[in-house]
């Protein structure tokens, strides 16, 4: 119930849309105060505000919304008076017993309620304000439920669609060039699900901004993630910040290096990841937004914005984000996280540093040996045709049809790795053109130099649609002293 006449009006201190907090006590120092509670999406509130603006009556508006939305309401209504923003949890509205908006309360200098009008009522409001609000219809119009009366489900629905303003995100620079979702306090809170927002995952290179969970959640919201994606985002950020990953080098290099997240285990399902047809995208929200969230953590919290501290000569579209789920169920082999020491039932993310994927079309090979050689030779020009060995872990994404051919002879992933490594070697004498390695420089002309130092540098996952003999390989980030990092995704925290 709204407060009855003569009851003390609760004090408040709310931020003005033009900056700085405003207290009721301060308003009353100048005489009686008229406080009008509104929401930004209530047509009656907008009507009332417009009529008050036309009459030039002095009211202080308290809008149950973040400041940006409150400002937009005022602009729509042509109201240039004082507007205070009251985002969730609406303590002031509750203290005033608000049920509907608009609710207009007159408060005497003594601090006592002098009168209240609920809804648009031209005559009653004119009397309360001591101003003529005119006789244009409608004479009366009921309003909407106050947000302070919403239950948790209504607030959650509100948070999901809340204060969207992509243009505001562009103005702030919180974007990778595509529209982002505004990280409202409600959305960030939903992402954090009660966890400590100030908990730190560590400094993010190159600018060394501290990755608090709240900032990581803000990046996840900006990227378009939903709360069910956040466990993967958090684990991936932790992995990315491991010293052995050397994110610093990747973030500032002139190379087109991005961060590639490979996801394994049960979390693929709740995160809605697509290991099947079109696994490298686009088209799936989980893949697209998780990868994008990582890149926004680097670009925003880490200050590694392309064109500023990120000095990549060309960049590449994978730097918008790259998150791949392995199709463990379709694969004939143990999944990547098991190869890297985690339990089969665990969920995990493996971070790699690399470029855009290179598609490998190979329809003729009928034996594992032929196919392994074809896959390997397709990768022989990665980084540079003459740069052997490449000196960095290289991710192959093997499509199901290729995996079947490779596994038909009883080959495991180690056999595939070994066959690729052994097939792709060239005499040093043929490699001394342009840019070449010390190993090539120091070898005899006929000495065979492999493309990879060791079969262990060849990382294999299975993903993709049932039809088609198209695998892919990601050119690695080179010369940066980085290693793949695998961390468990914990969904219970």
């Amino acid at each position: 119930m709204p407060l009855a006449a003569d009851m003390p009006a609760p004090d408040f201190a709310l931020p003005s849309t033009t900056g700085g907090p405003v207290e009721l006590a301060g308003l009353l120092a100048a005489g009686p105060a008229i406080v009008m509670f509104v929401t930004d999406d209530c047509p009656t509130c907008e009507l009332t505000l417009r009529r008050i603006a036309t009459a030039g009556a002095g009211v202080t508006v308290v809008c149950e919304a973040p400041a940006a939305a409150a400002s937009r309401l005022a602009a729509r209504a042509g109201f240039d008076g004082r507007v205070l923003a009251e985002p969730a949890p609406y303590e002031t509205s509750r203290a005033y017993g608000l049920e509907a908006v608009p609710t207009t309360v007159k408060i005497a200098p003594s601090g006592a309620v002098a009168g209240t009008v609920v809804g648009w009522d031209a005559a009653a409001l004119s009397a309360l304000l001591g101003a003529d609000l005119g006789a244009d219809p409608p004479a009366r119009k009921p309003g909407c439920a106050a947000r302070s009366t919403y239950d948790a489900a209504q607030l959650a629905a509100e948070a999901a669609t809340g204060d969207d303003d992509p243009e505001a995100m562009f103005e702030l620079g919180w974007t990778d060039g595509l529209p982002t979702v505004a990280p409202t306090p409600e959305r960030v809170a939903a992402m954090l699900a009660g966890r400590d927002p100030s908990a730190s995952l560590g400094p993010v290179p190159p600018g060394m901004g501290d990755a608090t969970l709240e900032r990581v959640a803000a990046c996840a919201v900006l990227a378009g993630c939903r709360p069910e994606h956040f466990a993967v985002v958090e684990a991936a950020v932790r992995a990315m910040l491991e010293p052995g990953f050397n994110l610093h080098g990747q973030a500032v290099t002139t190379q087109p290096a991005g961060q590639i997240a490979v996801v394994n285990g049960p979390v693929r399902r709740p995160a809605g990841l697509n290991p099947g047809m079109g696994a490298l995208g686009p088209g799936t929200r989980g893949n697209a937004t998780i990868g994008r969230a990582l890149r926004l953590v680097v670009a925003l919290t880490g200050e590694g914005m392309p064109g500023r501290l990120d000095r990549s000569t060309l960049g590449q579209s994978g730097k918008l984000g790259c998150c791949v789920a392995e199709d463990e169920e379709r694969s004939p082999w143990p999944p990547l996280h098991v190869e890297r020491g985690l339990a089969a039932g665990a969920s995990a993310v493996t971070l790699l540093a690399g470029d855009a994927p290179l598609s490998i079309s190979e329809h003729r090979s009928r034996t594992p040996e032929e196919l392994a050689a074809a896959l390997g030779w397709a990768a022989a020009t990665l980084w540079s045709p003459n740069w052997w060995p490449i000196g960095a872990a290289t991710l192959f994404v093997i499509c199901p049809e290729h995996a079947d051919t490779l596994a038909a002879g009883g080959w495991g992933k180690d056999d595939v790795r070994w066959a690729i490594w052994e097939a792709v070697r060239r005499p040093a004498g043929e490699l001394r053109h342009g840019e070449f390695t010390a190993r090539v420089a120091n070898a005899h002309d006929t000495e065979l130099v492999p493309k990879w130092d060791s079969p262990d540098d060849i990382i294999i996952i299975v993903a993709g649609g049932e039809a088609g003999r198209f695998s892919a390989v990601f050119g690695p980030c080179v010369g940066m002293d980085w290693s793949p990092v695998t961390l468990e995704v914990r969904c219970d925290t």
Partner: protein, 90 residues
């Protein structure tokens, strides 16, 4: 703030550059080789020019170009040199 910022304000505080010295004579200049290809050749030439202008030169090197210089190296440069030049990129 109407939104939750992804930024860390501490990482966004600009650090003012040290004032430019009037002269190089008698000053010590640290030349940091970041271990990029042929960076040392560039710094050799810079060293010659600096010495011609009366500066002392302190050569130093970080082990890998893609990782930031460690605290000890930065402290050594700060303690021994008045100015620093970094030989960046290939």
């Amino acid at each position: 703030m109407r939104y939750v910022s992804p930024y860390d304000p501490a990482a966004r505080t600009p650090v003012a550059a040290a004032p430019r010295p009037e002269t190089l004579a008698g000053r010590t200049v640290a030349l940091l080789d970041i271990s990029k290809n042929r960076g040392a050749e560039f710094l050799d030439r810079i060293e010659r020019h600096l010495r011609e202008r009366g500066a002392e030169v302190e050569r130093c090197r970080k082990p890998l170009f893609s990782r930031p210089a460690g605290g000890e190296l930065v402290e050594r440069i700060a303690a021994r040199a008045d100015l620093a030049v970094e030989g960046l990129a290939d």
